[in-house]
């Protein structure tokens, strides 16, 4: 699936912007570079259209863009993944996959408590799609009231998602191999999506100039995501060790390669999305 996205074109950065970036004086929000000390706009970020193939994995798309002569080599992974999330059908496809996974898990999960959280997850994904829709609309005035309501709702669902992961891990100990396979796929998918959802929320918040809120929200989300990842990692370690000594589910052996790839990819593609927006750009432009 071929799509076109816009990326920053660093070859057309003004000298003033380059100097401000080098001195750490620039802050970039929603495609505009400002002076950090409130000195006004430095430059509207120049853009360049590039083509990507969404049928390939995220890592392939990112590395082909990074190695492409179309894009300045200084563009970081966080910037590219962020652009793909906001501008393409990538996230919609992932959310569709999430709904399929929810249907499978619903048949296995007998706990009403866990099911309740899964319902919230479905609602959360819907809200993120709405946020993307608002971000696509260039008229801020037209969507300001919608965005304000959405930001409040997204914030409450985000916290529930974090709790859902803990609950699923606890609950999984009661499941058989077949059921656990579905649940494991589901947890991986949630953990893959969580930072991407947060990124969309941050973009929406930035669009309506709630910069302070964005920073606090990202800090909290980063902390929470790291905690959940740590929890999941410890659980996987224990389960794989048990499986290697024949004590528990062989699902963890069957899934070993996928899990390994997930943890490697998370470090590359998910953690950067939880950096403060200006940090992502600064890392990108200064490296």
């Amino acid at each position: 699936m071929i799509e076109k996205i816009f990326m920053f074109d660093s070859s057309r950065f003004s000298d003033a912007l380059k100097i401000a970036i080098q001195n750490g004086q620039a802050i970039i929000r929603d495609g505009v570079a400002y002076y950090r000390n409130g000195g006004g706009i430095i430059q509207h970020m120049p853009l360049k259209e590039v083509t990507i193939d969404l049928s390939k994995s995220l890592s392939t798309v990112v590395s082909s863009l990074q190695s492409s002569i179309m894009i300045a080599s200084t563009i970081s992974t966080g910037v590219i993944v962020g652009a793909i999330i906001i501008q393409t059908a990538y996230l919609s496809n992932k959310i569709n996959k999430l709904h399929v996974s929810i249907n499978k898990v619903e048949k296995d999960v007998k706990s009403l408590y866990v099911m309740n959280y899964i319902t919230h997850l479905s609602e959360y994904a819907g809200m993120i799609e709405s946020a993307r829709c608002i971000l696509k609309n260039e008229s801020k005035a037209e969507t300001a009231d919608l965005a304000a309501i959405l930001l409040v709702n997204i914030a409450s669902k985000r916290n529930e998602l974090s709790l859902l992961i803990s609950n699923l891990i606890d609950y999984s100990n009661e499941l058989t191999d077949d059921h656990l396979m579905h649940l494991l796929d589901f947890i991986i998918l949630i953990l893959e999506l969580m930072p991407k959802f947060v990124y969309v929320e941050a973009m929406l918040s930035d669009r309506y100039e709630k910069f302070g809120y964005t920073n606090i929200m990202l800090e909290q989300s980063k902390k929470s995501y790291k905690e959940r990842m740590k929890e999941f990692s410890n659980w996987c370690k224990n389960k794989k060790e048990d499986a290697l000594i024949g004590k528990s589910h062989s699902v963890f052996l069957q899934k070993a390669e996928e899990l390994k790839l997930f943890f490697t990819d998370s470090k590359k593609y998910n953690y950067p999305l939880l950096e403060r927006t200006d940090e992502i750009w600064h890392h990108s432009l200064l490296t």
Partner: protein, 247 residues
């Protein structure tokens, strides 16, 4: 020989080619010559995997070969051509070495540890063994931990050591025996009817029955080396977990 589902042998699917090559050597070769009763090298899937240099593809065939060495030849026939579980092989080795196991259901790595520890303790406490000074001077191996560290850095040297330690232990404890080689795999080639026909026709004497029973015993020289190797592969895999799931 068919593979018997065995959760204790699933660790083999994560071993790399070099690690599996060593195991294959234990199972198929004796002083650079093929064991007369091995069947692995004629297995088509194994041959294909060897050709491609990817023995992982044939990990179940390799596991099946080990299972067959661990079973009694005649009993293997009644098991539908399948050998015994790996747990049974380890427990059998422990029994042979008179290692007291109170709980046979404990995790497999605990049983493997008893076995390896016994091999080392016996060899190191044996004054007449020429092996200890050699291990200490050439490889600086004084403890199990030293051996494990060597395994991480030099797989071939480690394989050589466990092979000679396990062999030395069995030579010392049981001596060489004409009965050691098994008929484990022979049974699949001859077939059940042929074996039973032979038995009926020959009209075995009690001594003959004893001879057949003894000859059909598990091949401890092979299983002892294989178990030591698999035990260390398991330890290596467990060591790698932290790195694999690093956050």
């Amino acid at each position: 020989m068919a593979y018997r589902d065995d959760k204790d042998l699933e660790v083999l699917q994560f071993a790399d080619n070099e690690q599996l090559e060593i195991l294959v050597k234990y199972l198929t070769k004796k002083k650079d010559r093929l064991h007369f009763n091995e069947s692995l090298t004629t297995n088509s899937k194994f041959k294909e995997a060897t050709k491609q240099g990817n023995l992982k593809e044939a990990w179940q065939e390799i596991a099946a070969e080990l299972q067959s060495y661990g079973g009694h030849t005649v009993t293997n026939i009644f098991r539908g051509g399948k050998g015994v579980s790996y747990r049974e092989i380890v427990l059998d080795l422990c029994k042979k070495m008179k290692i007291k196991i109170n709980d046979k259901t404990q995790p497999i790595n605990a049983l493997e540890f008893y076995y390896i520890k016994e091999c080392f303790t016996k060899i190191y406490s044996s004054k007449e063994s020429e092996l200890c000074p050699k291990l200490q001077s050439e490889f600086r191996i004084n403890t199990l931990e030293d051996l494990f560290n060597l395994a991480k850095n030099n797989m071939r040297a480690y394989a050589y050591i466990i092979s000679i330690v396990a062999e030395a232990y069995f030579q010392k404890t049981f001596g060489s025996s004409i009965f050691t080689p098994t008929l484990s795999l022979l049974s699949t080639r001859i077939g059940l009817s042929a074996i039973l026909g032979l038995e009926l026709a020959s009209g075995l004497t009690p001594l003959g029955v004893l001879l057949v029973a003894k000859m059909g015993e598990p091949d401890y020289k092979i299983t002892s080396q294989a178990v030591a190797h698999i035990a260390f592969l398991r330890i290596l895999q467990i060591e790698n977990i932290n790195q694999e799931f690093e956050v």
